[in-house]
Symmetry: C2
Subunit: 439 residues, 2 copies
Amino acid sequence: MTYDLVIHNGTIVTVNERFDMLPNGLLCVKTGKLERVEALGADQSPPAATETIDASGGLVLPGLVNSHTHLPMTLFRGLADDLPLDTWLNKHIFPAEGAYLQPDNVRWGALLACAEMLLGGTTTCCDGYFLEDQVAAAVDTSGMRAVLAQGVIDFPAPGVPDPKENIKIARAFVARWQHASALITPSVFCHSAYTCSGETLKKAKALSGKAGLRFQIHAAETQNECRQIRQKYKTTPIGYLDRLGILDENTLLVHCVWLDDTDIELIAARKASISHNPESNAKLAAGIAPAPKLLKTGIALGLGTDGCASNNNLDLFHEMDITAKIHKAETHDPTTMDARTVVEMATIGGARAIGLDHQIGSLEVGKQADVVIIDNRSPHLTPLYHPASHIVYAAKSADVRDVVVAGRVLVRNRTVLSLDVEQIMANVCEIADQINKGR
Amino acid sequence: MTYDLVIHNGTIVTVNERFDMLPNGLLCVKTGKLERVEALGADQSPPAATETIDASGGLVLPGLVNSHTHLPMTLFRGLADDLPLDTWLNKHIFPAEGAYLQPDNVRWGALLACAEMLLGGTTTCCDGYFLEDQVAAAVDTSGMRAVLAQGVIDFPAPGVPDPKENIKIARAFVARWQHASALITPSVFCHSAYTCSGETLKKAKALSGKAGLRFQIHAAETQNECRQIRQKYKTTPIGYLDRLGILDENTLLVHCVWLDDTDIELIAARKASISHNPESNAKLAAGIAPAPKLLKTGIALGLGTDGCASNNNLDLFHEMDITAKIHKAETHDPTTMDARTVVEMATIGGARAIGLDHQIGSLEVGKQADVVIIDNRSPHLTPLYHPASHIVYAAKSADVRDVVVAGRVLVRNRTVLSLDVEQIMANVCEIADQINKGR
């Protein structure tokens, strides 16, 4: 039997239950799935395959999962930083979104995001934005895997001039993409409890629930949000969402910086999952989410970069390093958020959080072949004692050499094979020129 | 007149007093110094030069300054992580230092560090370690600029089996390197107030003071250190150092995580400088230094990575990003540690902190030509609105294309010209194999 793809000669970081490492590892892929994941004996050669990748003594890991982002916001990378939140949003981000989010621009921004993510070892993302059909088209072109949600908000938004249409437009998006691609899972994203009415939230949840899809929402991001919700509903954002019947195993809560113990118990009891975005929460000065506490409850916890306007990158290696460090700094406990835990958050944890852990998040027989190869041959990756530490504290997105999604090689020798990256960059620079002139 | 080196066709981020940006910038270098730093008119061509670098629309910045590190600790990168501080030090780092810090190993570790730093845009570092002659030889080979200190501690140490000899050995180091190289400035490094007696500290300070050199010391890094010092000397680490007469404009205090307001006033009044190491302080769970407060006092504040065992890299781009974010997260103020401030810390601030701001830290006529060129042509650096934001929040060490120190091109197209990087990595891997077998 000839495999479609064989990867050998690297150390496989399986991220299975036991976090097994397989030196001189062998991965065999047939029709997009992993058929063999094992250590090859010193005297064994890899089996025959249509395509073979020599991992050159590097590390072979599951593709990284970005559990929260807004892809087209690459257009606004670095447009405005270091500002009070309301100035940043109302004077810079909202006006730029209002003026420049035409469908074409959204697609170019999303294509740029896909190129950046693939080059940095991210094989799956979970997105929520407006004009999400354009995002889906871009992701589809790139060959990435994604959970993609049309955004819902009770204000006029790009592609949704009349907010009364927001649920209808989300429903149409779900219908279009529910069976369109094996790699794209549609979803519904409500911006927040302070920008959507209770009725909108319930309708959106019903829409996603009926289709068995992820319902995403920003929740408990800032102290100000918590104050607003308490004034209006006499409870916390989490308590309010639960009162509406929105917390269940298909709900992904994004941020969750400001939680009390009751909130945490509620989220755990309802089996909702959380996307932890430490860089965005830091940059926007929201605070530091209680991630170590959340992990102890068994809540599915993934890592997310958030959009490029509040990060300013889509780099999960960077996010892993900061995750491991910021919680140690805050708790004064050097053993919290150890490297293995953080690698799990960026892979299987993220897969659980977005509902795809039956397919991805670890390198195990039967799962999808979403694979990243790290090239260790550079000074900052020398020497290598422990692969998990290496991945979190030393490796960077630029060390990703090859990327495979569903058995298809999308990045080879640091080049994206599925996208015309030069063309995408040129188009985004043109859009940025317009934005610059408009300021 | 023909220049030795001309760099053109990039945006110069001068980091001068006004933080001027020079689009279509021109840098002209003669005998290691900057003779012209200006914007070139659209119709002007760059002048003749022995060597010309086209910055290809990238960013041209002053070489980055790493104000605190222990270079040979690259040997222990990732050897032990996520452990309580005493376990980490006493069970892993001290035994490894005791067993493997032979002169040859120290030199290979330092050479690896130089390769990593140069490839990541660091042109100057401030180091303290044992067997520092080997470190100096390595730095000298690399062509980097450095302040290098023989370590002083009242325990047996590599190369100093009898601690009674520690000052003598430091004195000999200073004598050997004080006039040996235009790029190397010797210094004295006392490990800390809890590992050196008052007498040792005073002798070491006298030695460096007499020669007009930097006196470096870890100070106020952990709460435990503060407790120890208070028990013994009834004051803070800073108060104790001041009582010994050690705080002055030639003293560089490293870490300063745990300072009270009196400490901060003392440091400012004595004009001592500080190296801020946020990643190391986070990873070892020491805490978060009050950097925003320190900046307000006018204290010279540089950024440092610390050694590779507690980071685990020597990457100032990474350190800049975390610096900008971690203080926003802690203070809940999104305007603190803005991008310009952080770029200044990594360049002119560091130069001030280590006493070299008359020579380096900004791109201005008369200063040394220590220059870094960032290649913007990749998805994660697209688009570009504000250079300072780009440098802090988007650029990474792997985006450094060319590096110049004192007018000499040390990195060209991401290749180190002054070092045999393959050989260095092979030797360090061999040393790491021995360390692995010895565990």
